[in-house]
Amino acid sequence: MLFSLPAFVLDKIKVKEIDYLIELLTPRGKIKALAKGAQKSRRRFVNLLDDLTFIRAHLRKPQRGRTLILEGADALYIPESPRYVLKKFYFFSYVAEVLSYTSFGPLNREQFGFLVEFIKEIDRNPWEDIYKCLFETRWSVISGFAPLLDECVKCQERPRRLFYFSISAGGILCVNCKDDQSIRLSSFQIDLLKKMAKIEFPEEMSELKESFSREEGLQIKSLVEAFFLYHIDWEPRSLPFLKSEVGSPDNG
């Protein structure tokens, strides 16, 4: 049975001398497919199997065995700038690694559409450090472990003036429930977190850029990363490389 799906390439592993096992993120969730002869074929896949290339994957269910066969692929969008800008190359590796490790279920149209537009936006525009923070926030929302920001995680009271954020508790705490690990946040920072979580179109990011240039915004970046890593419970291998480049001037 043949069928086609839009998909992001997340990873490829060499299988024997000529095949690749490809990991794809599709609206139906993450799937693995065998691209026969892809290590040697010059015509069928060429450069379509690199990280976060957006393709229309033509898949076949084999008569025997469970692994799908990737019969062919059409390019829907090939990110070009990661080839020239080291930060983007590391970031795309980071995104692909996180998506590969943390995607378990199907994505709805809006969620998948956001990823498509997000990748295009980053590819077409100069690098901004906010991209990493936004990805982590949005992906935690999509994956269902976004921080609770409207009421205290423990007593469900709505804090009015003093906000404490607890990474392990998964959101804000009121002044009565705060613990030694919680971090005090301003209402500006809480608003910033809420706005990021609600972003539906990557173009909306530009409105937040200025907020991140303030000291309070910078603190949010490290808080979001710490929250994200704590809840995915794993550190991607590409993260140290990305962090070593973020903040330095562009290389391309």
Binding site: K16, V46, N47, D51, P82, R83, L86, S93, F241, N251
Partner: protein, 206 residues
């Protein structure tokens, strides 16, 4: 059936099947073939034993060599002003066998692969820079595959070498010989257009 095999044969099958590209069936076939070839077994055994001791990396270019310097680095007839950076010794061999380049080489052995833990610090660029200075290289040719990792590595190297008085070039990229345009993706086509060659110069007079 394998349970009836003697332990040494079973061990050999297991060892052979751990080689890249060989499954258990192929390993099985090879092992049974080797049983009847006593002299081949002996020479293979000797070679495999010697391999890690004798074959090492050339001190200058990091190509495989049995001596301190590989045969290419020892060849003084080559053009020292050109240095070709390749990913691995297989690519070096491919360029050498084409007989189109007469300069020296530098083998990276890795491309940037953050997901595997290889970043720019793991590339060993300091040795490359020392080599450029020592040999008074005038042109560095980046001959890395035009994959995402290959291009990212080329861009990184080009940026790193920006402050050194060398010309940095990379292999042309575009439509491969014998390929039909209808199968090319837009990045390949874009590169082909950017790198088009002039067949005849001059201006159009109408």
């Amino acid at each position: 059936m394998e349970n009836f095999y003697p332990p040494t044969l079973k061990k050999l099958i297991k060892a052979l099947s751990s080689l890249p590209g060989l499954g258990e069936k192929s390993a099985h076939r090879l092992a049974l073939f080797l049983i009847s070839k006593v002299s081949l077994c002996e020479s293979l055994g000797d070679l495999l034993k010697e391999l890690p001791q004798r074959v090492k990396l050339c001190r200058i270019c990091r190509n495989f060599s049995e001596d301190d310097l590989c045969s290419i680095c020892q060849d003084i007839s080559r053009d020292p002003s050109q240095l070709c950076v390749v990913e691995n010794p297989m690519n070096l061999l491919q360029i050498e066998s084409a007989g189109i380049y007469k300069g020296y080489y530098y083998v990276l052995h890795y491309l940037l692969a953050p997901k595997e833990g290889f970043g720019h610090r793991e590339l060993g660029i300091d040795d490359l820079i020392d080599l450029i200075k020592e040999r008074s290289v005038r042109e560095v040719i980046l001959a890395l595959s035009p994959t995402l990792a290959g291009e990212a590595t080329s861009s990184y190297l080009a940026t790193t070498l920006e402050n050194y008085p060398v010309k940095v070039t990379k292999l042309a990229c575009g439509l491969p010989m014998g390929m039909e345009i209808q199968f090319a993706d837009y990045i390949t086509l874009k590169r082909a257009f950017m790198g088009r060659e002039v067949l005849k110069g001059g201006s159009y007079n109408g």
